[in-house]
């Protein structure tokens, strides 16, 4: 059984010598988050599962792609997940069926994996609250462009076209929105 106290980076290092237990531990810690981001982007359970599977198998086959000097593991994993999901939407095109999204998992519904690590789960819940609160303080037009870019996978140009706004306006909203988001998040960490 893998020690729950091990950092993500240590678990990833073990992947290099094919440590399946380390891989399982990483899956149990991060699969739900990867799946949630994928689902938000693709809007379909099957496609979201496919994306999640590809993200984790990529990690298993090429652990060296994570460069620990460039930032945290979760940051990297989530960016891989988001990018893969956006690519999936592009490649599936009209074959992608949207569904009514399921309700968000309540505290009681969380699976065995998180029960095994309540501290991690609690921390994640706090972070989630902090980010949602921070985003909500942004003016709606800034929230809109950030979400269109991140989950919608649109470029600045495409967002400008979609909203019928000048490109310069979109660029400004992105910069101001991210600046504010970073400030709020920093403040949340400090309090």
């Amino acid at each position: 059984m893998t020690d729950p106290g091990l950092r993500d980076e240590d678990l990833v290092a073990r992947l290099r010598w094919r440590d399946l237990a380390a891989f399982e531990a990483l899956y149990d810690r991060h699969a739900a988050l990867v799946y949630s981001v994928a689902y938000r982007v693709v809007g379909n359970a099957q496609a979201a599962e496919d994306v999640t599977q590809e993200v984790f198998l990529r990690l298993w086959r090429r652990p060296e792609l994570f460069d620990g000097t460039r930032g945290r593991f979760t940051t990297w994993l989530l960016s891989v997940a988001r990018n893969r999901a956006v690519d999936e939407v592009r490649s599936l095109g009209r074959r992608l069926q949207h569904e009514a999204p399921p309700p968000e998992a309540g505290a009681q519904e969380l699976g065995d994996a998180s029960a095994a690590d309540p501290e991690l789960e609690a921390q994640l819940a706090l972070e989630r609250e902090a980010v949602r609160a921070a985003l909500a303080t942004l003016p709606p037009e800034q929230q809109e462009v950030l979400l269109l870019a991140y989950f919608g996978g649109l470029t600045q140009q495409e967002i400008a076209q979609r909203l019928g706004q000048p490109l310069g306006t979109v660029k400004t909203r992105i910069r101001l929105g991210m600046k504010k988001l970073r400030e709020r998040l920093r403040r949340a960490v400090e309090t």
């Binding site: 399946l20 988050l33 460039r70 991210m178």
Partner: protein, 266 residues
């Protein structure tokens, strides 16, 4: 692209809102500019925080099974092409050392199998996998990057080289070396795996034939993921409980930038 131009694009870059050409230009600058790279890490962290605004959902348990099965299949497949590709190595636990050597053609191998002997099980294992244990081990050694390591000469045995492979699922470790001189009388070669705390665990002893070829098959248990290096040393006949001889061949499982001045060696 100047640092100022990069700074203007950093947020959009972190959000994935730049087109492909701009991404290339940004990444080219980042690979050269440490200061901007640090800024980029910051922006990426903020962008990935947005991931948390997605409704938090749990995937089905079936997905976990699919992913883990696929990873396990990968390990087996890494044992090489041919009849074993994509199949688990069907090496029975408790396969017999002596009996394999005698009956199934592993004559040149030294064996350090720790589990008990069962002739029938050993024969069944070979039958089930449709091949001989020698071929199983050869496949293990021929495996892809993921499961084999090359040992380089470190000192006296300049022409020697080795390959170390293992199958964590089966708990087997195989070593094949070439170009080793005959050990002096009363001595034997010994394989060690070194843990991250610096302690060395013996994987068994072996001799070499007239060609300087040596083979060792050993069982591997326990804290597998903690090994960071491997090495072969010369020890008194019968082996040593503690490594005393100098390392003649060694391999490090770490990336070079992770090693300390000692190269990871105790």
């Amino acid at each position: 692209m100047t640092c100022e131009e990069l700074e203007e694009r950093l947020d959009a870059y972190a959000l994935g809102a730049l087109d492909a050409e701009e991404v290339r230009a940004v990444e080219a600058h980042l690979s050269q500019c440490g200061r901007c790279a640090a800024e980029a890490a910051d922006a990426l962290r903020a962008a990935s925080a947005l991931a948390l605004t997605a409704p938090f959902l749990q995937p089905r348990p079936a997905l976990r099974e699919r992913v883990l099965t696929a990873a396990r299949r990968d390990v087996a497949a890494a044992a090489g092409p041919g009849p074993l590709a994509g199949r688990r190595l069907a090496w029975a636990k408790g396969a017999a050392a002596v009996l394999l050597v005698a009956a199934l053609g592993l004559g040149s191998w030294s064996l350090a199998l720790r589990r008990d002997v069962d002739r029938l099980e050993a024969e069944n294992a070979a039958l089930r996998s449709g091949t001989t244990p020698a071929a199983l081990v050869a496949a293990l050694l021929a495996g892809g990057e993921a499961v084999t390591w090359t040992l380089e000469a470190a000192g006296p045995a300049a022409g020697a080289r080795g390959v170390l492979a293992w199958d964590p699922e089966q708990g087997l470790c195989a070593l094949s070396v070439d170009g080793l001189p005959q050990p002096p009388a009363g001595h034997v070669y010994q394989l060690w795996l070194v843990k991250d705390d610096g302690s060395a665990v013996s994987m068994g002893t072996f001799t070499v034939d007239a060609d300087g070829t040596g083979r060792l098959l050993s069982t591997l248990g326990g804290e597998f993921g903690r090994f960071v290096a491997a090495g072969v040393s010369l020890e008194p006949a019968g082996g040593n409980s503690q490594r005393q001889g100098a390392m003649i061949l060694r391999a490090s499982f770490r990336r070079p930038e992770e090693e300390g001045a000692s190269g990871g060696w105790p």
